[in-house]
Point group: C2
Chain length 238, copies 2
């Protein structure tokens, strides 16, 4: 009984949709019926249903009911804050990470503005090449303020840094701002990636914030043009 009630209900319904027990285009039980099924109040049921709606699982229709959306087409590659490791595992690809650079640096002017640090701060710099199906197609450059991440090793970087920070260090990631653009190649790109004949590269700049709204990480994820894909689900208005 550790979890919230509404989250338990949400996860239960998601499981039922993904297992096929609740099929696309069929109607969910009404809110009042769910109140009885889960022995809870209507507002709690509505909290769970609103979460399902936001995440693209159901469509609510006034006077009619809630209907299961055909979510099978929604295979979220990079949407949200999913890390490379989670992503590769989800898609079932053969993936490999090479740590190309690792260490503490003094931030230059560009990085100081991006990470909101001063020249007195020290910053972790991690550069990793991502190999999928035998080709090096993604270059991740991560910068962490040492104030939030006192200790880091090359070995941790070979795995998932996020997993380490959340589970071991106990940092709580709250939100992120993502910017996607297409840039010209840099020396590093040519040096660390298998680029074919391409002249440009897709750059995803990620600003990651903690629970207390402090910026603790800046990441540049550089993707080879032909392998880049981003999927987004958005609701209009509320």
């Amino acid at each position: 009984m550790r979890e919230n009630k509404f989250m338990t209900i949400y996860e239960d319904v998601v499981a039922n949709i993904q297992s096929g027990q609740l099929r696309p285009n069929t109607k969910l039980p009404s809110e009042n019926e769910l109140v009885e099924q889960y022995e809870t109040s209507r507002e709690t049921i509505r909290k769970a249903l609103n979460l399902l709606s936001q995440n693209g699982y159901i469509q609510k229709m006034k006077g009619k009911g809630s209907f299961v959306l055909d979510v099978s087409r929604f295979d979220f590659p990079i949407s949200g804050l999913v890390s490379f490791k989670e992503l590769a595992e989800k898609l079932g690809h053969e993936s490999h990470t090479v740590v190309e650079e690792f260490g503490l640096i003094k931030p230059d002017e560009e990085l100081r503005t991006q990470l909101h640090v001063t020249s007195k701060d020290t910053v972790w710099k991690v550069v990793r090449a991502r190999e999928i199906d035998g080709e090096r197609i993604i270059l991740d450059k991560d910068f962490f303020n040492k104030k939030f991440v006192p200790h880091l090793t090359e070995d941790i970087c070979r795995g998932s840094i996020y997993e380490y920070l959340e589970k071991e260090v106990g940092l709580k990631i709250s939100f992120a701002k993502k910017e996607i653009s297409v840039d010209e190649l840099t020396e590093d790109d040519r040096h660390y990636l298998d680029l074919k004949e391409y002249e440009h590269i897709v750059v995803v700049r990620n600003y990651v914030y903690l629970d207390d709204a402090s910026l603790f990480q800046y990441t540049e994820s550089r993707h080879r043009l032909d392998k880049f894909r981003f999927v987004d689900f958005a609701r209009r208005g509320v």
Copy 2:
């Protein structure tokens, strides 16, 4: 008194943030204080605050209070479901639209899968080149199922089709799925756009759904590499 209470409060706070009355990193009044200010119940206040949090305006901290963020609201280029016209106006650029193709077609196989229509359906096809600051840099290809859009004119397409559909036809757009990738140039791209030396183009595929979860529009928005930018704000977990 037409609007919802929580939406009125939300818009009021947004206005206060944007006007500078509520400054970044300052604390909002507590929920109980807001209850008194707005003469409403706490759940209604919380509904407004959750909306502010989701949209990146504030950060809520248990035991401390809600704080104004300064992260977001710079410039949201394509995030959400903003149309080209809204976007150009927001950024204050000189923009111009040329309708290159307009008419009813029978969908080919590719389009039939994308729009979920059969060969018996008729589909509006609209191709528009978007000129910003004197350069033609975006090519929008829109396809509407005629079932939902019985009437359409070239003149409407020169303005905002969305505005026409929502205000005149009364269609209620509910959600959309967006896919971003980088493709090779097509004949149309070379023909209708000012492309410089680029060999590739950023393609945003947009699947737009109505209130009743029916797919009514498929759009391909093709952006010249150097002019493309996408910004996204995402919260972790709930």
